[in-house]
């Protein structure tokens, strides 16, 4: 199981701050979330990064999720 924490922007869609999901990878996680909240998958993939246990990963779609991981979706950062 992993814990997904939603930003306030995403909470408007999910209605909850966090949920526990059984997902072995980010890709699987996004698919499960999109099944539950249709359309959220696009929000979670377009220009978004994923933080897994505190480490921000820009292209995280195929990342494995260790059991017990804390996952955040956040806007991808570029820079100057």
């Amino acid at each position: 199981m992993v814990t997904v924490k939603f930003s306030a922007t995403l909470k408007a869609t999910t209605g909850t701050d966090e949920i526990e999901v059984d997902a072995p990878s980010v890709r699987r996680l996004v698919r499960l979330l999109d099944e539950r909240w249709p359309g959220i998958g696009e929000q979670l993939t377009a220009g978004m990064a994923v933080a897994i246990n505190g480490e921000i990963i820009p292209d995280a779609m195929f990342e494995e999720l260790p059991d017990g991981a804390e996952v955040h979706f956040l806007p991808a950062i570029a820079g100057g």
Binding site: K5, S7, A8, T9, K11, A12, T13, A51, N53, G54, E55, I56, I57, P58, D59, E70, H72, F73, L74, P75, I77, A78, G79, G80
Partner: protein, 757 residues
């Protein structure tokens, strides 16, 4: 090669021989003798010159374009308009906006928006022909600021733009492209617990990156559908991808060769000229060079956002910040994509605050599309937040550094944007300033002293390096990261340290898109971290291979070989050591050329923090502010070439000083820019400034082999608030609108005096 012994003799870091030293940069000689080739310096055989016709209006419908007169002008070889480009209708929304930015289609959305382009045998002929193109416009009402653009009855730039980040999505279009919200805790309870609450609204005008080299590109599309492009940019792979999208062609059909880049600061992470030069070249069947004038740079390339930021924060008398409520709206310019996201995410990142809400809006208006500018968005929100934190400190009678030390972001604290911080060095920068000679010295009579802090994420990303050992044992290290401030030196230092050879035996090269793998832009403070990481990994592959070859030569087990000070040694000491040169000479007999590549999407960027202190003197009769002394402390993780780390810190601070005191886009009532020149867009000159004192804090980034954090960006975040805070402590005037120019300053002083009467 000379290793300078300033400011400290020898290596500044025990344990390293090369990392932490200050060798002369490999490209330095070319840059002090005029040999270095920047974007506008390339000349190809049979090359012709391009020029734009640009919109004189901030917002207008294009009724008609007649190019017939231009096409018969002397020297003219090609004329193109939006009709010559692939239709944006077939593109993804972001790509369509980019395509429309490059060349207007139905509407012009900002003054300077390209409407047509001409290639001719001379620049003068191209410009004359561009002037001869007849465009009929229907001028539309324009919106200049977030306030105007967000008004209910505002004229719309894009009639299909629906705000993202709101659920349910709005059913009508607006000028608001996106919204972001960060929230935690109980805001009302937080403010209820506060003894002091400060609430203010801050604004800033668009400011430009102000690189000295105008954009330039040369395209040669005259063979086989392929195109060669030379341009100065912060990342030629991104230039290729973006150009290919606008032209609807496969990226691999374009080879982009990086020119030396004359400054970028984020502004050269996007395209302006490149697809236009290729189309002109295709049509004229000759190489085409396009170089912007300075006024084109100001009118049509990326400033960063003008913005409005409302900040409300509460603190207890003992210095606990209990709540923060931040609202902001940032101008995106003509197309969506302001740095609203990072502005919201960085706003409170320096602090551990239990109850907060940060809401941001990305708003289009009739100005040039903003481009990234050093820590994009962060200075805009920090201007407000760091000013209010200073005011909170004053209100409760606490030293401003002490207040920050009571609420700092530290390892394990959950960042406002979500995840918990790993090991970071914010507290160390606060302590470095607190303990500095500057902060401990008394404030001179009539001066004011201000403090502010800044945060930037830093990023990793895609990088590739190839390390080649030549037959003489010297080494080339090849990357795809344009060197914008001395990164060749850092790459050479990594290789020298890993291979144990003199840094002057290493030749760093930056090559074209056909020659090395995809490499992300030089931006986000990522090159020393990410390119450095792949250079280190490729060097380690080389080192392992050298040991394997030595084992082969000695007919021993590889475990019996170690690499020490640039040579292979047998652990028994029975064999004469083999130098890199000796192994390289025999490479053909031990397995062939010695060449290793490492490619990686590098992670583990270490967050960067800075604390800065400034003393100012305000001439209260003229409103003129002088920067008397400035000290910046920044966590570099590990300074690979300390001079260029200091240089990044100093450069960031001085851009911030310009933003604080004088830089601004000044628009006329019709939405056109009134100051598109370095005369009236006033970046700091040498006589405006003192030396910028630097304290390089080194809290190693645990995710990097040498502990590197990026240092390019955080430095620009605090200066506006630091100077505003110093001005307040000198004059009693709390400034809320940037820049704090003499005119605004004198108005504030007059108001203060009137209030005292």
């Amino acid at each position: 090669m000379t290793i300078t012994d300033e400011p400290q003799a020898g290596n500044e870091t025990p344990g390293y021989k090369w990392v932490g030293t200050r060798p002369i940069r490999p490209d330095g000689l070319d840059k002090v003798t005029g040999k270095a080739r920047f974007g506008a310096d390339l000349v190809l055989p049979n090359m012709i010159e391009g020029a734009f016709l640009r919109s004189p209006h901030a917002h207008a419908r294009i009724v008609s374009i007649d190019t017939s007169a231009a096409e018969t002008m002397p020297g003219v070889q090609a004329v193109i308009t939006g009709a010559d480009f692939p239709s944006p209708d077939d593109m993804a929304p972001g790509d369509a906006f980019q395509a429309m930015k490059i060349m207007a289609r139905d509407k012009v959305l900002f003054e300077g928006h390209p409407v047509a382009a001409v290639a001719a045998t001379s620049r003068a002929e191209a410009m004359a022909a561009a002037k001869a193109i007849v465009v009929e416009y229907e001028v539309l009402p324009h919106v200049g600021t977030v306030g105007e653009a967000m008004a209910d009855d505002a004229p719309l730039l894009h009639d299909t733009l629906i705000t993202s980040g709101i659920d349910p999505a709005p059913d009508t279009p607006s000028n608001i492209a996106a919204r972001n919200l960060l929230e935690r805790g109980d805001l009302d309870a937080g403010f209820a617990a506060a003894d002091v609450i400060v609430e203010r609204t801050f604004t800033n005008k668009p400011v430009h990156q102000g690189y000295i080299e105008p954009h330039a590109a040369v395209a040669d599309a005259s063979q086989n559908g392929r195109a060669n492009l030379w341009c100065s940019s912060q990342g030629h792979f991104d230039m290729r991808s973006m150009t290919a999208k606008v032209l609807s062609c496969p990226p691999s059909m374009i080879n982009v060769t990086p020119a030396e880049i004359g400054g970028g600061f984020g502004g050269k992470t996007t395209i302006y000229l490149e697809p236009v030069a290729i189309l002109l070249s295709r049509k004229a069947n000759r190489p085409v060079r396009m170089v912007m004038d300075r006024d084109e740079v100001f009118k049509a390339t990326g400033p960063t956002s003008g913005a409005e930021v409302r900040v409300k924060m509460g603190v207890t008398n003992d210095g606990t910040i209990t709540a923060a409520d931040v609202w902001m709206a940032l101008e995106a310019g003509a197309f969506p994509g302001s740095p609203m996201g990072p502005a919201t995410m960085t706003a409170l990142a320096c602090y551990d605050i239990a109850n907060f809400r940060v809401e941001g809006f990305d708003v289009v208006c009739n100005k040039p599309k903003v481009a990234a500018y050093r820590a994009p968005g962060a200075p805009i929100s920090a201007w407000g937040v760091e000013s209010v934190v200073d005011e909170l400190a004053s209100e409760i009678g606490m030293d401003p550094i002490e207040l920050r030390l009571k609420n700092p972001a530290v390892e394990g604290v959950q960042a406002p944007y979500g995840p918990a911080f790993p090991r970071i060095g914010f507290v160390e920068t606060l302590e470095a300033i607190r303990d500095s000679d500057h902060y401990r010295s008394p404030v001179a009579p009539g001066h004011g002293r201000g403090v502010a802090c800044g945060f930037w994420f830093n990023i990793g990303g895609n990088s590739v390096a190839t390390v080649n050992v030549h037959e003489d044992g010297n080494v080339s290290v090849i990357t795809g990261s344009p060197d914008i401030g001395g990164s060749r030196s850092s790459m050479a230092l990594f290789v020298a340290e890993e291979l144990g050879i003199d840094v002057d035996r290493i030749n760093p090269q930056i090559v074209d898109t056909d020659t090395i793998g995809h490499t992300d832009v030089t931006g986000g403070s990522r090159v020393t971290l990410s390119a450095g990481k792949v250079v280190v990994e490729a060097s380690r592959k080389v080192k392992a291979d050298l040991c394997r070859r030595a084992a082969k030569a000695w007919d021993c087990d590889i475990d019996e070989v170690e690499w020490v000070q640039g040579q292979a040694q047998h652990i028994s000491g029975t064999e004469s050591p083999l130098s890199l040169a000796a192994i390289a000479k025999n490479a053909g007999r031990t397995g062939g050329p010695i060449s290793f590549t490492h490619a990686e999407n590098v992670r583990g960027a270490g967050a960067g923090f800075t604390t800065q202190v400034v003393d100012v003197e305000v001439d209260e009769e003229l409103g003129h502010t002088t920067i008397v002394r400035y000290t910046t402390a920044q966590d570099a993780g590990k300074a690979i070439h300390p001079s260029y780390v200091e240089g990044q810190m100093q450069g960031g601070v001085v851009q911030g000083i310009g933003w604080a005191l004088n830089e601004e886009y000044i628009h006329r009532a019709d939405g056109t820019l009134d100051n598109p020149s370095f005369l009236d867009y006033r970046i700091p000159v040498a006589s405006d400034l003192p030396m910028i004192e630097t304290i390089v804090v080194e809290v190693p980034n645990p995710a990097h082999p040498y502990g590197v954090r990026g240092v390019g960006e955080a430095g620009i975040v605090p200066p506006m608030a630091a100077i505003g805070n110093a001005i307040e402590r000198s004059t009693g005037c709390r400034m809320a609108d940037l820049p704090m120019s003499p005119v605004r300053m004198l108005e504030a002083i007059n108001e203060r005096n009137a209030a005292a009467d």
